[in-house]
């Protein structure tokens, strides 16, 4: 019995490694790009940021582009005039529809006298970067690395670092003990069933075996309605929303004006 369990355990680990390893071993190269049309970075900063983008792209196993533009006019592709669609279409033009990747777009003039920072996600990255993680990245970038006081390099670099932290496949630290706690629960469930087999002595609950056949008669039976209560609970919000671009690809993401 014990041998069989060990054999089963071994087989499971084997299946797991076969299932997981290819995902890591997948060495296909991912596109990375820095497009500073707005010219907010010095050539040295561009080189440094591009190296960071390459590194983050490899860590995330997805395409990654950073783009800065003065405004939304004069794009080489068609879009519907919003920052969101500009970012989505920029991604599709560079990396194709529904591939795995992220675009970070900085617009210096969004047409309403403000700057926009926008992150558009595509493919698996839609799920991997949740809305709350994205908002955290923006909060951190705008609060601690504001371009007005620290410059655009620091601002964009903090976003790249934020993506590197959030997007690569990762599990929270407590998932490991949680997994084994659930495993322990399963073990106890099986064992309580097996322990029950060993116990066969207990008092009878009632005398159901000794009811005279056909002796049961119900002389009165009333079901009366009393009252009702309604309770409501908020529906859990979808944690990474998605939309379709004017080019027809699915994207996630969001942005901030500042």
């Amino acid at each position: 019995m014990t041998k069989r369990i060990f054999a089963a355990l071994f087989a499971m680990i084997l299946i797991l490694s076969v299932a997981i390893l290819p995902a890591y071993a997948d060495s296909a190269s991912y596109g990375y790009k820095l497009d500073d049309s707005a010219d907010v970075l010095s050539p040295e900063e561009e080189t440094k940021l591009l190296a960071t983008i390459k590194e983050v792209s490899e860590a995330c196993k997805c395409n990654l582009a950073f783009a800065t533009v003065k405004d939304l006019n004069g794009a080489s592709f068609s879009h519907n005039g919003t920052t969101q669609d500009y970012a989505d279409m920029y991604y599709e033009t560079n990396f194709g529809k529904n591939t795995d990747g992220i675009v970070v777009l900085l617009v210096l003039n969004n047409g309403k006298g403000k700057r926009d920072i926008y992150i558009s996600t595509s493919g698996k990255c839609i799920k991997r970067l949740s809305d709350s993680e994205r908002e955290e990245i923006f909060d951190d970038a705008l609060d601690h690395h504001n371009p007005d006081s620290k410059g655009y390099y620091d601002f964009l670099n903090s976003i790249a670092q934020g993506i590197k932290k959030a997007v690569p496949p990762h599990l929270k630290w407590y998932m490991l003990p949680l997994a084994f706690l659930i495993g322990f629960g399963i073990a106890m469930l099986i064992l309580s069933f097996m322990k029950k087999q060993l116990k066969s002595v207990e008092m009878q609950r009632g005398a159901v075996n000794y009811v005279r056949p056909g002796s049961m008669n119900v002389t009165a039976s009333r079901d009366s309605y009393l009252y009702s209560t309604v309770s409501r609970t908020a529906r859990p919000k979808n944690n990474s929303s998605s939309h379709t671009s004017s080019g027809g690809g699915s994207h996630g993401g969001g942005g901030r004006s500042f």
């Binding site: 490991l176 060993l198 066969s200 002595v201 008092m203 008669n217 009702s228 209560t229 309770s231 908020a234």
Partner: protein, 360 residues
Amino acid sequence: MAVHEYKCPCCSGALAFDSTVQKMKCPFCDTEFEVEALKAYDEDLNNEGTDKLDWDTNAGTQWTTDEATGLRSYICQSCGGEIVGDENTAATECPFCGNHAIIMQQFSGSLKPDYVIPFKLDKKAAKEEYLKHLQGKFLLPKVFKDENHIDEIKGIYVPFWLFDSDADADIRFRATRTHAWSDSNYNYVETSYYSVYRAGGVAFDHVPVDGSTRMPDDLMESIEPFRFEDAVDFQTAYLSGYFADKYDVDAEASVDRANTRIKTSTEDAFRDTVQGYVTVTPEYSSVRLHDGKTKYAFYPVWLLNTTYNDEKYTFAMNGQTGKFVGNLPTDKGKFWRFAAIVTAAAGALIYGGMWLIQLL
């Protein structure tokens, strides 16, 4: 004191009740006798017993000290040896010659049982059921199964009180129904409350309550049900070859247990008529019993004893239906080994699954 032994009319050997043929059988000359046919002969033997009674009573005065401590001594009809039993012993065997002895005094007057269910299964069947009982139980220590020695195996007629009663009930339940729907922002649950009333009656026949303190109540209830269809009018001949005790818990003291069981089952039966609700909680219940009748019966039980790690384990088998019960020990080492292996395997699998979800 009177001890009764059924003698074979052919060879004078001691007769015993044979559960396979459901007749009295002489183990020496293999002659079989119908229990009914023996009745007349039985009465003659009773008369013989009366003659001896006087003689024995005179001699019995010597044992009054034993009687004061609850012990009783009887003289074996076959070999003259002394059989010592306690105040409840009703059927036993002679420790010297092994012949079956029935102590008639334990059945005189109001002590005479109304019914007996004769043994349907023999010692061999009990042993087989015991081995079956040990099968397919993963946590049972292997040593326990491998040794499987039985210290003692005994066919015992256990005194039971049987209660017949009609139960009238008025029961009110609080019941709920739920209806769920949702819009884009909220999930809604509407709970409707109902008051459900049921009244009526149900009758119970022969609810047994163990009348012997020597038999654990839970063990005796575990081998239920006994089917009363097989019960016959009591005759001492059925006890031949088995052990028996007379009751030492009277009907009055046993009725509480029967009441509890009847009340529970009555409530359950009416609870089952309340259908179509999500929750049903009893709010008020009144169960009234009437036309109650009590009978005294002997039911057949095989009792097995075994010892493991200096602890005594008792098993019981229903001598009529073959239902076998008895708690078994747990192999603690095996328990924790299994827990560790399953925790490791399931934990690894779940953790792997979490990664897979991340990657896909």
